[in-house]
Amino acid sequence: MPHDEAPTCLIVGASHAGVGCAFELRRQGWTGRIVLIDRDPHLPYHRPPLSKTCLTAEAGSDHSPLRAADSYAKDAIDLRLGVSVTSVDRERSLVLLDNGENLPYDKLVLATGARPLIPPFPGLDAARHVFPLRTAADVAGIRAALSEDHGKRVVVIGGGYIGLETAASLRKLGAEVTVLEREERILARVTTPTMSAFFAQLHADHGVKILTGKTVSGFRTGDTHSIVHCADGDEFAADVVVIGVGIRVNVELARQAGLEVSDGICVDASARTSDENIYAIGDCTYHHNPRYDRFVRLESVQNATDQGRVAAAAIVGKEAVYDAIPWFWSDQYDVKLQIVGLSAGYDRAVLREEAGQGPKFSIWYFAGDTLLAVDAVNNAKAYVIGTKFIQSGAPINREKLADSTVPLRPANLMR
């Protein structure tokens, strides 16, 4: 569609991916307009700390901005907060907003992310102080509920990273925390039994009650608190309930627009959707990872920022290929877990424990001789060396790797 004006790149979603993409567009030389839209009214903020330091921080510092407030204007990024995009009209190259406005685009970027999955538990509607944990508003809600004068019994539904990080943070605040996990172990979907056992013990040591095999069947709400029911008949009194049982990808806009959608919005190596003028980045995308040669959807800051950068380069017409090695982290109590790579499909895991005080170990996942991934606990060195071996593809001597008397250095692990 020809315009008289400068071209517009319109970005839907102002979290890690969308914000990163907007600023990168300027760095890459985009001279047209940039409009960045999000329904969240807060100045765009870091999401990972929400379940960690934001919960435990002093009042008033419950989120940490991604960029300074004035940086958007400085880079001529038209940041529109508190508005939602309701549909995309590809015929006319415009989006409709919930305030009735139409905005034209030349390039559209969907950074729509995901939303917490809230199962339709019976009694949930009447229950008080039930929160997911995805936004600054959720954090503010949890903090406010806990600061009230009544009890501090918290039930966390779901023993994934969000649930466990929240449990650790609320424990730090003095709450009495019970985690109810449906599977037979926590973190069942995302890591190995060894790692699950480590984190279960870590939480037990800090006084968090972790119960597995617990399927929540409903809520009953009394005058002061809620009762969480489980299918096995157990009941748990809760002043605050946090639900962390996973997410739903926000693919509705893409689907409505008729774009190709699978487990997420399908994009190519340049983050382009099935429409050449529409890109998608971050948690919402389903993309091919060339290193692991499979399609993935990743929920991570790394994926958000790297894919945002690739899309920005592609939008200004540069050659851009997304082939980053995925990485993740989780902070719980004084434990830092760092993960590099994707361990799915491994046939052997090598555990390496370092001598010394406190937990410090790493698990190295192999398929044949190929290193797929490393989980490093309080061991940034293992994380970094693992990253380098995954990058280079150099074979590793697994006997030396497992031997903690052999110092962890790349040269010592070569075969």
Binding site: S64, R67, A68, W329, D331, K336, Q338, Y383, V384
Partner: protein, 102 residues
């Protein structure tokens, strides 16, 4: 209150002042190009890499073990490298000059 100078990769020098938070946050709040702080300041991403002016190392102190390990991800790291999310802004670092890493 500490006055802190950042020299970006284009050679531009910016002096700003602060009295709390981390150097990464100070850089973000003043839109210093090249300091991203993608992980939010928990020493997990190595995108806030700076080189401390050699004479200023005694003020900032040296990198911690985890910081040194994470800096290994960056080929440009040297003995004056720090991840500036790990440096607290206080009077102790008044006058320090940081060069933003490539």
């Amino acid at each position: 209150m500490a006055n802190i100078t950042f020299i970006t990769t284009d050679g531009a020098s910016t002096t700003v002042s602060g009295n709390s938070g981390s150097v990464m946050e100070l850089a973000r709040d003043h839109n210093i190009e090249g300091i991203l702080g993608n992980c939010g300041g928990v020493c997990s991403c190595a995108t806030c890499h700076v080189h401390v002016a050699p004479d200023d190392m005694r003020k900032t102190g040296e990198a911690s073990e985890i910081e040194r390990d994470m800096l290994e991800l960056d080929d440009n790291a040297d003995e004056y490298s720090r991840l500036c999310c790990q440096i607290v802004v206080s009077d102790a670092i008044d006058g320090v000059v940081f060069r933003v890493a490539e």
